[in-house]
């Protein structure tokens, strides 16, 4: 692949070690199984799964960059475009809506002045709509990175936004 541009980003040394550990978990020749975990690792580091990052993952796994993109684009968790510092992913599914989710999410978007899928002008927040997060008894729910925020109310949303803006 002489025409391919060299990957322009790299994992930090700790993440590279972890990436190699992950690849070694699978039977010989099945290293592609590490693709989803590595994409998570990439997103954890870069905030999104950038094309350069996906190229790097492809070279680590010795697969074609297009294979990485094909897979990344199938799943909803990978951000294929740059996102804000905090990505708020709220659950729009039935049970959360029964608990007043629609009102709370409307308040969230109004407070930030954006629609789902958009990022605030200051680059602090991106809001995304997602489906059931397996926390339906604690709805309404959203997730920011690995953390779940449950039993949301308008007041609670204000508080969270305030804390994260500080």
């Amino acid at each position: 692949m002489t025409t391919e541009a060299k990957p322009t980003i790299a994992f930090t040394p700790e993440r590279l070690t972890l990436a190699k550990e992950i690849i070694a978990r699978y039977p010989a020749g099945k290293q592609k199984s590490a693709l989803l975990p590595l994409l998570h690792l990439l997103q954890e580091q870069e905030g999104w799964t950038s094309p350069e990052g996906m190229d790097m993952v492809a070279s680590l796994l010795d697969i074609q960059p297009i294979e990485v993109f094909e897979v990344a684009s199938f799943y909803t968790m990978y951000h294929l475009d740059p996102v804000g510092k905090h990505v708020i992913e709220y659950c729009r599914t039935g049970p959360c809506c029964l608990m007043g989710g629609e009102e709370v999410y409307a308040h969230l978007k109004q407070t930030l002045g954006i629609e789902a899928g958009q990022t605030t002008a200051d680059g602090l927040f991106t809001v995304k709509e997602v489906e059931c997060l397996a926390a339906c008894g604690m709805g309404p729910v959203f997730q920011i990175r690995e953390q779940y925020y449950t039993h949301l109310t308008n007041e609670r949303v204000d508080e969270i936004i305030r804390d994260l803006s500080a």
């Binding site: 978990r25 699978y26 039977p27 099945k30 592609k32 199984s33 590490a34 693709l35 989803l36 975990p37 994409l39 998570h40 796994l61 094909e70 897979v71 990344a72 199938f74 799943y75 909803t76 968790m77 990978y78 729009r92 599914t93 039935g94 049970p95 809506c97 029964l98 608990m99 997602v130 489906e131 059931c132 997060l133 397996a134 926390a135 339906c136 008894g137 604690m138 709805g139 997730q143 690995e146 953390q147 779940y148």
Partner: protein, 446 residues
């Protein structure tokens, strides 16, 4: 008081750690299985227990295990399905987060029974914090000699790998899960071949739900017959129910199968009743995919007998008057809930989650979402109701995987039982689209 098998110790402080879990009797089942039983012996106990798959389909676990092909020199795999994405379901999340060692212990026993030396726990990627809890638990178990090479000197080796998903409901379907675990898009495979013959990496594979696997410690400790003595008829043992919606106490409850639905909803031991001042309108008993029932059919069979929380009783009456236990995602609706809006919400979910491989599912889910959106937003026509029924029929049974059926059933059942509510939306578009407006017609509330 119902019997607790999975959650007996869940509230013990520190139960997420190896030491506390061990003090509560944890890992004795691994010792018993590896030191005193043969793999076939463990399979036999699980068969006797009659435990049925807790992921939704209810297929007997022991029988599934006995179908596993065992060609010489080919590795076999156990894959735990922790993708938990069926709307209304949050029990596996609860179990793994609070008592991770129960799953690890079950994984060791089940892997031993199946002769697997590398086993996987595929957890939906959104639960990354739970993945970290599981990885910590695995490291503890390994340090204590319960994982790795030559476990407890038995000669049996096992490595456990926790695999994150990438966000896709379809990856809960077992063959899509295997594709995903191989690092591919989550497109379900055609069956046959079944995973028991050609699964992960084309090797014989068993896929089981978290809760199913978690039952095995108790079964090994107490015997399959003891397990079969709990519950009712062919619905043996206990089941975790994820209760959500308009009830006083949403949460995860472990019930002995056979509890009357009415008691489960109204008793203080469980849901605590409908929230104050409100009444039961409808119930989705087993996750968004199962048919919705109106209040009276939720609590009673068509013949007036009480309906029970069991596989058989919930499906009594077929789809005319019954539903399914499914994943145990128990969603309760009071009279403030709009059935049309909820049906539209669910159909949007299935359309969003369809992998797009088969046209009846890809096109049909899109149509249903569109037509339901139009009815909910005051632009529907009477003809649309029949159109929905027709589209649902065309999807059902005509797809590679059961997601198609799962998309069709909520729509078909909502129309079957709440047709007047759909009609009201169409004949009263102005009224119906006012914020918070809900049909108050001749529905039976309980």
């Amino acid at each position: 008081m119902g019997k607790k098998i999975l959650t007996e110790h869940i509230n013990v402080a520190g139960i997420e750690t190896f030491d506390v879990y061990r003090k509560q009797g944890g890992y004795t089942a691994v010792e018993k299985a590896l030191k005193t039983m043969t793999p076939e012996g463990v399979v036999e106990e699980v068969k006797k227990a009659g435990v049925r798959g807790r992921g939704g389909a209810g297929f007997p676990m022991g029988m599934k295990w006995s179908f596993l092909a065992k060609p010489e020199g080919v590795p076999r795999y156990l894959v735990c399905n922790a993708d938990e994405s069926e709307p209304g379901t949050f029990k596996d999340h609860y179990l793994m987060k609070n008592i991770p060692h129960l799953l690890i212990e079950g994984m060791i026993i089940s892997s031993f029974a199946l002769g697997a030396n590398t086993s996987f726990i595929y957890v939906r990627g959104e639960l990354m914090y739970v993945i970290r809890i599981l990885e910590k638990a695995i490291a503890e178990a390994k340090a204590a000699g319960f994982l790795g090479k030559n476990i407890l000197g038995s000669g049996y080796d096992l490595e456990l790998v926790v695999q994150p998903g990438g966000g896709a409901y379809i990856c809960g379907e077992e063959t899509a899960l295997l594709e995903s675990l191989e690092g591919k898009r989550g497109n379900p495979r055609n069956k046959p071949p079944f995973p028991a013959v050609k699964g992960l990496y084309q090797c014989p594979t068993v896929v089981n739900n978290v809760e199913s696997i978690a039952t095995t410690s108790w079964i090994v400790n107490n015997g399959g017959d003891a397990y079969a003595g709990i519950g009712i008829g062919r619905s043996t043992g206990t089941k975790l129910i994820s209760a959500s919606g308009h009830i006083k106490k949403p949460g995860v409850y472990e019930i002995e199968l056979g509890v009357p639905v009415e008691e489960f909803i109204y008793s203080d031991e469980w849901c605590g009743g409908i929230r104050d001042g409100h009444h039961l309108k409808a119930l989705v008993a087993g996750g968004s995919s199962v048919p919705i029932l109106p209040a009276e059919l939720s609590l009673k069979l068509a013949n007036g007998d009480p309906r029970l929380m069991s596989y058989e009783s919930l499906s009594e009456g077929g789809f005319q008057t019954g539903t399914m236990l499914g994943s145990g995602g128990f969603i309760v609706f009071d009279e403030t809930a709009c059935i049309v809006r909820n049906t539209w919400n669910f159909s949007r979910f299935y359309h969003h989650e369809s992998c797009g491989q088969c046209s009846p599912c890809r096109e049909g889910t899109g149509w249903m979402e569109k037509v339901l959106h139009r009815i909910e937003h005051g632009h529907g026509s009477m003809h649309d109701i029949d159109l929905l029924v027709d589209v649902a029929k065309k999807i059902e049974g005509n797809t590679i995987c059961p997601l198609g059926d799962a998309a069709a059933w909520p729509v078909a059942s909502a129309i079957r039982h709440f047709r007047d509510e759909f009609e009201w939306h169409i004949t009263n578009p102005f009224e119906a689209t006012q914020p918070g407006a809900v049909y108050q017609g001749h529905m039976a509330l309980v």
